[in-house]
């Protein structure tokens, strides 16, 4: 039985809008050109492959349902009260194999000593074996290294096979689209350059794809036998948590922008262009909102939300729904803040632009205000909008971690990198140090934010009218 959270619905609205935007751009040559330029940038293509995997994980995690209970005796179909996502089902092994407490990556023994009953009746205090991690080994100390090596190799081989099949499919469909034979297509990609116009660096895409797929298959294969990234305090697999956190990070980065963008653009340009009382009103609006320091505003709002939620506990049917509301609310508050930031930037830029000759000239020719704003100002501030969308994205993903630390971030029950860092932080003083949760969150965050940043750069280079050069063809 499907369950649709509000954020799920919004994320699919966003996907729909992106599709609409792509369809619209394809029909307009002036929008195609910068995107084609992005497409020709090897780094941008490599990072977009990475981003696609993150997005795929996020989308899979956005389809929720109540699983059906396997009870054959009953006539009617019963549903569990648990809410699972498609990602949960795919990572069933990771989710269900819970240890008692911490365990290091690839560990076969638990992190803490406890009393163990020996077969001969005596009890000793030692590190117990893990329930699942490396439980197939008879003599862990001796077997573990060869076992991990062979399993890694198997994983890599599987990955290479999948990658080869995928590459073959891509090359085949490319040759069909371009109506060339497979051999020349293959040669083009191997040589790293395409003779055909629209030079998308397919070799870079394929290499990135290969690396990711090999990484994933190895991880998947190994995680069937070990806790590849260890387990956390309650014995939950860290890899599973990191994967679940992807959705939270993506949502905060995108929904916030979705909420704030229309206001920021319209009001920012209007304020800068019209000056006078319109400027005063808009300035008043955003200065008032913006004057409240961001963290404090979020803190105050979340505090109030908490009060509301404890007093209206009955309104929320499940923990997940509660967490979801909190996430949405957080996005809205963050949106209110980043709205004012972009608006300010746009106003400042428009203030400068309207003094520039071409705007003065347009005004002297008697062009209408709206036309000037749309024709002469909007395209010239569009790079700021584009850059701030994509830069905001990575910024917001990072902010989430900070907010979680101040305990005003997403719900503590929700998987997020911020929550992972926050709980791992407290364990830094332990001996031996519990480093794996922290490093997992670090790697996953770095992967997403770094690729988002690099992709943002490529988009900026393509969209900035001052850098952009129309290719001569």
């Amino acid at each position: 039985m499907p369950v649709i959270f509000i954020t799920d619905a919004l994320i699919f609205v966003l996907v729909f809008m992106v599709c609409l935007f792509i369809w619209y751009s394809r029909r307009h040559e002036h929008l195609c050109i910068p995107w084609r330029q992005v497409g020709e940038n090897p780094l941008a293509m490599a990072t977009s492959v990475v981003l696609l995997f993150y997005i795929a994980a996020g989308l899979l995690d956005s389809i929720h349902f109540h699983p059906r209970l396997d009870d054959e005796n009953q006539e009617e179909i019963k549903y569990s009260t648990n809410i699972l996502s498609v990602l949960d089902v795919l990572t069933e092994k990771l989710r269900s194999r819970v240890e008692k407490t911490y365990s290091a990556p690839f560990a076969t023994h638990a992190y803490a000593k406890e009393m163990i009953d020996q077969p001969d009746g005596t009890r000793i205090r030692d590190y117990p074996r893990l329930n699942y991690g490396g439980s197939h080994l008879n003599d862990p100390d001796k077997d573990i290294v060869p076992d991990i090596l062979t399993k890694t190799i198997i994983g890599i081989v599987m990955g290479i096979m999948i990658w080869l099949v995928l590459s073959a499919m891509i090359i085949f469909s490319l040759s069909r689209i371009r109506r060339s034979d497979i051999k020349t297509e293959f040669r083009c990609i191997i040589r790293g350059r395409d003779q055909i116009p629209g030079k998308i660096p397919w070799h870079v895409i394929l290499i990135t794809l290969g690396c990711i797929i090999i990484g994933i298959t190895t991880l998947v294969y190994l995680s069937g036998f070990y806790h590849v990234l260890g387990t956390d305090k309650v014995g939950q697999d860290v890899l599973y948590q990191s994967l679940k956190s992807v959705r939270t990070g993506l949502l905060i980065g995108t929904l916030t922008t979705l909420i704030m963008l229309p206001f920021a653009i319209a009001l920012g340009i209007m304020a800068g262009y019209f000056s006078g009382w319109i400027d005063d009103v808009i300035q008043y609006l955003y200065t008032t909102l913006n004057s409240i320091p961001g963290v404090l505003l979020i803190a105050a709002a979340i505090l109030m939300l908490e009060v509301y939620m404890t007093n209206h506990a009955g309104d929320f049917t499940s923990i997940e729904q509660r967490a979801d509301m909190r996430l949405l609310f957080l996005c809205m508050i963050l949106g209110i803040m980043s709205w004012t930031g972009l608006c300010r930037l746009l106003r400042g830029e428009t203030l400068k632009l309207r003094e520039i000759d071409y705007v003065q000239a347009a005004r002297a020719f008697g062009t209408g205000h709206i036309t000037i704003m749309l024709r002469h100002i909007l395209p010239n501030v569009m790079h700021i909008v584009m850059i701030s969308i994509v830069l905001d994205f990575s910024g917001l993903v990072l902010v989430e971690a900070v907010l979680a630390y101040i305990s005003i971030g997403v719900d503590p029950t929700m998987a997020s990198w911020g929550n992972m860092i926050n709980s791992a932080r407290l364990e830094m003083a332990r001996e031996p140090i519990v480093w794996w949760s922290l490093s997992a969150a670090f790697m996953f965050m770095l992967g997403l934010v770094l690729s988002a940043n690099l992709f943002a750069d490529a988009v900026r280079d393509a969209f900035d009218p001052r850098i952009r050069t129309i290719p001569a063809s």
Binding site: L398, A401, V402, Y405, N453, R466
Partner: protein, 325 residues
């Protein structure tokens, strides 16, 4: 000019009123004091007497906007709005929910905050501008490319990792400075050093890259080409024409945050256990002390507005092309 400043200050008044209303709505209308009492006293099975007692101790037991039972003048003055918001407006912060004088706490705690934020800002500004100018000078070369790559990687790392990493490496592995804490007087330096260094490193990525683009933008402008064409040395071009023009957006960006330095950084302060306003706020948030959070929201806003006024003034001084009258 003076006219403009006066007008700006006059503009600030309605903004302050707006903020006051926002905080009032957020703290007293969205949730009634009853809700807050129930939240603080525990979840369920709580008597109305306990709620009333909690409210009367904090002065929240009055009507919200209009006291119809009081006599003439007190109809307005004996309400939550008047008692809390109007007093806040006059910087009378009153007592926290735990009974401490907020104004006194703030005056005590703003100095440790400043001891960390001010050196961070100055040292940061100097180093970031130096880095950025170096990258801009070597534009297009390997130094530039790798510098930018480093910047992008550094700005992709959460500030939490810098703090945790800094504490771990400098504090725990090398034992150079105490991991956290604070001291008065000259001893404060060893406690301040680590947060300042961490803050500095954490800001390198984004700031250097941002400043570099500003400088590069200036470099592509006509007056720079003219300066080169008339035979000025690259050094003169860089310092006189690029740096000075590039400083306009950089400095105006800095002016906004100047007054906010008093507030300090929430995360840094609580990580390093600095008894500044940042950790004060964090403690208030975790104790759900509404009075302190409200005061801090208001104080932060006031400081930000001061920063904005200063920014606009500095704009007119720095760039005579911008007409503000």
């Amino acid at each position: 000019m003076i006219n403009y400043v006066i007008r700006r200050i006059a503009y600030a008044l309605p903004i302050l009123i707006g903020i006051n209303i926002i905080t009032f709505v957020l703290f007293f209308v969205v949730n009634t004091p009853d809700d807050m009492a129930r939240m603080q006293l525990g979840q369920k099975r709580i008597t109305q007497e306990a709620i009333d007692k909690w409210k009367s101790e904090r002065g929240y037991d009055k009507p919200v906007l209009w006291n119809s039972q009081a006599s003439a003048g007190q109809k307005i003055s004996d309400t939550i709005f008047f008692q809390n918001s109007i007093k806040l407006f006059l910087f009378d912060f009153g007592q926290s929910d735990s009974g401490r004088d907020i104004g006194y706490d703030i005056r005590q705690r703003m100095w440790p905050s400043l001891a960390i934020t001010f050196p961070s800002l100055i040292l940061g500004l100097i180093s970031y501008i130096t880095f950025a100018l170096t990258l801009a000078f070597f534009r297009g070369s390997y130094i530039d490319v790798w510098g930018v790559v480093m910047c992008v990687i550094m700005m992709s790392i959460s500030s939490m990792f810098y703090i945790i990493g800094g504490q771990f490496v400098i504090g725990k592995l090398f034992n150079l400075v105490p991991i956290s804490g604070y001291d008065t007087g000259f001893d404060a330096i060893k406690f301040v050093a680590l947060p300042v260094i961490v803050g500095l490193i954490g800001g390198i990525g984004s700031s250097t890259r941002w400043y570099r683009t500003i400088f590069l933008e200036e470099m592509n402008k006509d007056f720079v080409r003219t300066a080169r064409a008339k035979g000025l040395s690259e050094k003169t071009v860089l310092y006189r024409h690029v740096l000075r023009n590039g400083l306009i957006p950089i400095l105006t960006g800095v002016v906004v945050v100047l007054p906010l330095l008093f507030i300090g950084s929430l995360v840094t302060e609580s990580f390093f256990a600095v008894p500044g306003l940042g950790s004060y706020t964090i403690d208030a948030i975790s104790n759900q002390d509404f009075a302190i959070v409200r005061s801090m929201v208001y104080l932060g806003s006031v400081l930000y507005i001061i920063g904005l006024i200063l920014t606009d003034i500095s704009y007119t001084i720095a760039d005579p092309r911008i007409r503000l009258e």
